[in-house]
């Protein structure tokens, strides 16, 4: 890639940083150049975020329809999976998965709820009262 070919497309890097590219300069030797972003990458990123938002919307509906507990929704909201959430709350993965069941969630002890709420950066009340 030549220096003048560095893409300068609008991207989420705006107001944050520009990224370094290694490109061929005028003399045919390598130098660095800065890029604001590349539309190709922005498309991949946008579409990944679309998927995340769709996934979150499905999780919300699952809570609303009584299929999943609020923990499941907030896990998705924090872009976590069961393994990441389990390591943050310090529980085994299978226990975390059990807590996705609404009827198990209803009987959860305050201490467990507190752990989850603090990882999700919300209050225990907010966690308990989330209805989708």
């Amino acid at each position: 890639m030549k220096k003048e070919e560095i893409p300068q497309d609008k991207s989420t890097l705006e107001n944050f940083t520009k990224e370094v590219y290694y490109v061929k300069g005028k003399e045919g030797r390598y130098e660095t150049g800065l890029s604001k972003g590349w539309s190709v990458k922005a498309e991949a990123q946008d579409s990944a975020w679309d998927d995340i938002h769709n996934d979150l919307e499905e999780a919300r509906l699952a809570v609303k329809n009584g299929k999943k507990s609020p923990i499941f929704y907030y896990m998705k909201k924090e872009l976590m999976d069961e393994a990441i959430l389990a390591s943050y709350v310090g529980m085994m993965k299978f226990r975390v998965k059990r807590h996705f069941k609404p009827w198990v969630f209803k009987r959860l002890k305050q201490s467990a709820l507190k752990k989850y709420a603090s990882v999700f950066k919300i209050s225990v009340e907010e966690l308990k009262s989330f209805e989708g």
Partner: protein, 337 residues
């Protein structure tokens, strides 16, 4: 605190930390491509079963931490590294080092990295930055991918150093004890070793999923994705490749341009026209990877998502595999002295 610290931006965080470390000792020869090449950074692997957010994993560089380890070893740099159970201990240790005017590298998770834009904040825990001082409740941070230096509060720093999940840092920090004299001979030896090891990683790892055969493997898979997964899911897989290949830190073209720049610099050390010409091969490979990303984006967004478009990707990836295979074979035959 290092008041005269000079921040150099780099494409990739790990290369950037090494480069800044070594340059801070007055070794101006150190550059990001050199660090990448000494650490045999170029790689390819397609992990069909490891799912990142439900998608297969692709990597265009070697495992996190390896480049750092190899480069320091080959230049005989004495590095100390430590992990912790408790964040209080980790903080004390860091503060103590800063009081001794040390530059300290820290492994962090990016999810809670407050100066990153939201769109980049996933649970990725193998990011690296340098702490070069403390000002009241703020750490002075030199993040290699940022244009300028930045700050992180003590609380934020403790959070990102103790991020959880895959590659959890456990407060991992590292610093240079000492860097001795580095002669031109040392660098040349390091380059030879770095190239040899990279030839091995790209040509001779057994199994179909790594190195140039890994690229071929992806080509074959890509061709079948549309039928097997449907256009939507196939698009998600392609998006994953684009992001791993071009995301911030790769220098463009899945690290191929950085590697080409390394070979160009190596050519200077050995006065070798062959190295220059092989450098051009990698420039070509990088350009082809960029072209492939454009095709993939077209399929992902539905502009060009027919089977014939997937066939084009298949052919192009095979061509890339061939170009890189030839280039590495040429490297393996070089007699550098």
């Amino acid at each position: 605190m290092q008041t005269n610290y000079t921040h150099t931006q780099s494409a990739h965080c790990e290369n950037g930390v090494i480069t800044n470390f070594i340059r801070s000792y007055g070794h101006d020869f150190m550059t990001e491509p050199l660090a990448f090449g000494l650490g045999s950074g170029l790689f390819y692997i397609h992990l069909p079963f490891i799912k990142v957010n439900g998608l297969p994993a692709f990597a265009f560089r070697t495992m996190p931490g390896l480049i750092f380890k190899r480069t320091c070893r080959s230049l005989k740099i004495d590095v100390e590294s430590k992990r912790f159970r408790k964040s209080e201990k980790a903080q004390d240790y860091l503060d103590n080092l800063l009081q001794q005017d040390k530059l300290v590298g820290c492994q962090v998770g990016v999810y809670n990295l407050s100066y990153f834009p939201k769109e980049y904040r996933f649970h990725f825990n193998a990011h690296n930055l340098i702490v070069y001082g403390k000002d009241g409740n703020d750490y002075l941070v030199s993040d290699p991918v940022m244009e300028t230096v930045t700050k992180l509060s003590v609380e934020d720093m403790n959070t990102v150093r103790f991020a959880k999940g895959v590659y959890a840092p456990h407060g991992h920090l590292y610093y240079v004890n000492d860097i001795g004299e580095i002669s031109k001979e040392d660098i040349k030896k390091g380059i030879i070793k770095g190239i040899k090891r990279n030839v091995r990683d790209m040509l001779h790892v057994p199994g179909p999923i790594t190195g140039v055969s890994g690229i071929r493997y992806t080509a074959k898979k890509v061709k079948g994705w549309r039928d097997k997964l449907g256009p939507r899911r196939a698009g998600q897989y392609l998006g994953q490749i684009i992001r791993m290949q071009e995301e911030i830190g790769t220098g463009g073209g899945g690290f191929r341009f950085i590697y080409a720049a390394f070979l160009e610099q190596a050519a200077g050390y050995f006065d070798s026209d062959d190295l220059l010409s092989i450098s051009d091969d990698f420039t070509k490979a990088g350009d082809m990877w960029r072209e492939s990303a454009m095709l993939m984006a077209g399929a992902l967004r539905g502009r060009a998502s027919e089977q014939s478009d997937y066939d084009k990707m298949h052919d192009l990836l095979n061509d890339i595999s061939e170009v890189e295979k030839v280039a590495f074979k040429r490297l393996s035959k070089l007699k550098l002295k």
